[in-house]
């Protein structure tokens, strides 16, 4: 069996990372803005004050711009699984396809239908009905994220599935296991509330911009108050769920947590320091210029003072029997494919759990076939395969730290702005308003780095411990991948220019200058409808 060209794998990874990172610029804002709109509109419905209606409409338009581009960029990713990751889709599609289809059918249609009513239904629905629509849009957008994160959790901690040697793919066993897996739950809540933080910062930043320019003061102060409270509680939730995810990685993805912490050797509790700064060297398997804080690592990761965390060198050693067992599993699987004998099947079943490690050994085997490894070569091939179980430590280590530092900053920032807002001292502290404006992109950056931590840390697997990334892509040519990548970069560059242009333009104009135009456009739609009705 010929392996897929490594350049094609790298280009496929790069293309997916680019499109996912780009798409993920819009997702958090959509997740959070919808519930923030719901909060603002709830105040409008309860108090009946017109200012809150104006606020809900204004922020609703910003949400609509963001939503449209989020949808456009998300669609391409779903197709990428088929076009660029066909081996993965064949191997894991049974499980992965289910939540993806549910996302399309349930959340996407629900969300898209109600978005229309949210934007254009202000003068056509009662207050209560419009509020219900806003809540349904919020639920729909977050349900959409739920199914995607359930699918992603299945890749990180495959549960409710087993490998079928007759179809050569993972078969889906339990929907309940998939949906209610601990990883899916924690990932969803962490991502959703990270979106709340991003949306809060956007609203606070734009409101601060108005306050600095002494424009739309009534709207800006109220928006700032709602957003800062929303952001403060959300930032606490993000940190809590981040801790839950870290502990889960410790239990289920030990290579990921060791890479996140730059831990080359097993920790010695309780002293083990937490590396606040280090330059991990993947080639030499050591850290340079490490600055650690003692007694922090063990309780942070294990929630105890006496449990050690296995280091990457030891994890490599522990992989030795798994690689040997995986080679036996793949050899038995190959024979079973030829003979369909019960003995070969029994041999495979005995070593099935280590099959993924056998795939990893293929790269170093003669003719990429583990069944042809001579006994004299086995030790050498196992040794060569051992380092392959580790992700890129430098990337995982630093993406995690950037995310954590930003998360800490958000909590402090929200706590401070909440205090100032509650004391009505925002306008006299112009520096905090300026900081709010400059902080707008930071939560989106934090979510991007969070995604990099989760996905780079999962390497070398697409399906953890089951399917390596280098076996997952389609067998395209390098020129095909380069051409499609160039196309994506071009198209997405145009889209990002359009996004920023529309968002900046709309935000600069503010609510008052926008209202008459919107009224005009709605009037023209109504008059057009009247003409059509008259014509009939």
């Amino acid at each position: 069996m010929d392996l897929i060209n490594p350049h094609v794998v790298d280009l496929s990874r790069f293309q997916f990372a680019m499109t996912a990172l780009y798409h993920f610029m819009f997702v958090p804002l959509t997740l959070g803005l919808t519930f923030l709109l719901a909060a603002i509109e709830t105040v409008y419905v309860v108090t009946g004050r017109e200012i809150y209606r104006k606020m809900a409409k204004f922020w609703g338009h910003l949400f609509a711009i963001n939503f449209a581009l989020g949808v456009a960029t998300g669609l391409t990713m779903e197709f990428e699984f088929g076009t660029n990751w066909s081996m993965y889709s064949h191997f894991f599609g049974d499980l992965f396809g289910t939540p993806l289809a549910l996302e399309g059918l349930m959340a996407f249609f629900m969300e898209s239908t109600f978005v229309g009513l949210l934007v254009f239904g202000w003068d056509r629905l009662s207050r209560a009905s419009h509020l219900a629509v806003t809540y349904l849009v919020a639920a729909g957008s977050n349900l959409s994220a739920l199914w995607i994160l359930i699918a992603n959790a299945g890749m990180n901690v495959p549960e409710g599935t087993h490998f079928d040697p007759d179809t050569m793919r993972m078969q889906f066993d339990s929907f309940v296991h998939l949906v209610f897996s601990e990883d899916a739950q924690a990932k969803f809540v962490h991502t959703s509330v990270a979106g709340y933080v991003a949306a809060s910062m956007l609203i606070m930043g734009i409101s601060a911009f108005y306050l600095l320019r002494r424009q739309h003061r009534e709207m800006a102060l109220r928006s700032f108050r709602i957003a800062t409270l929303f952001g403060l509680i959300s930032s606490v939730a993000v940190i809590t769920l981040g801790d839950v995810l870290g502990r889960m990685d410790y239990q289920k993805q030990p290579t990921k947590i060791a890479a996140i912490e730059g831990l080359w050797h097993t920790s010695k509790p309780p002293f083990a320091p937490w590396a606040a700064f280090a330059l991990p060297d993947d080639a030499k398997q050591e850290n340079h210029l490490e600055i650690g804080i003692p007694f922090v690592l063990t309780p942070l990761i294990t929630h105890s003072f006496n449990q050690p965390i296995t280091g990457m060198r030891e994890l490599e050693e522990q992989a030795d029997p798994h690689i040997r067992s995986g080679i036996i599993a793949l050899t038995a699987l190959k024979h079973y494919g030829e003979t369909h004998s019960k003995q070969d099947l029994a041999d495979f079943r005995a070593h099935e759990d280590d099959m993924g490690y056998g795939f990893l050994a293929m790269r170093h085997s003669p003719g990429q076939d583990v069944s042809t490894i001579p006994a004299s070569e086995l030790d050498r091939i196992v040794k060569q395969t051992q380092p392959d179980i580790l992700p890129n430590v430098f990337v995982t280590f630093w993406s995690f730290r950037i995310m954590v530092v930003l998360g800490g900053y958000f909590f402090i920032f929200f706590a401070f702005t909440t205090l100032l807002s509650l004391r009505n001292k925002l306008e006299s502290n112009r520096w905090i308003l300026k900081l709010a404006v400059w902080s707008i992109p930071l939560p989106v950056m934090a979510t991007e780095f969070g995604w990099i931590t989760a996905e780079a840390g999962r390497q070398p697997w697409t399906v953890f411990n089951r399917l390596p990334t280098f076996l997952s892509s389609s067998s395209h040519t390098v020129s095909y991948m380069t051409f499609s990548l160039a196309g994506f970069i071009l198209l997405y560059s145009v889209l990002i220019v359009a996004e920023f242009y529309l968002m900046f333009r709309f935000a600069r104009r503010g609510p008052e200058t926008h209202e008459p135009q919107e009224q005009n456009s709605q009037d023209s739609v109504v008059s057009n409808l009247n003409i059509v009705q008259g014509g009939h």
């Binding site: 709830t42 309860v46 209610f180 601990e182 108050r225 509680i233 839950v244």
Partner: protein
Amino acid sequence: MPRYLSTLLKLAGLALALVIALLFAVFVGDQGPWYFAWVIGTVMIILISASGAALFDAQEQRNNLLNKENQS
């Protein structure tokens, strides 16, 4: 429709919503505690931030009154 019937229907609807909420709480609270925490937490975040706006209105009203008193 007689008034008592519409009241009865409203009560029945609210009772049904209550039963669904309880079933949801029992099932999701048991199977997916973080999902349950998300639902409760999101509602709480919305209510607290919305009450922050109501508090802002009350503060502004009080400030306006104080200003008027000072001017007079």
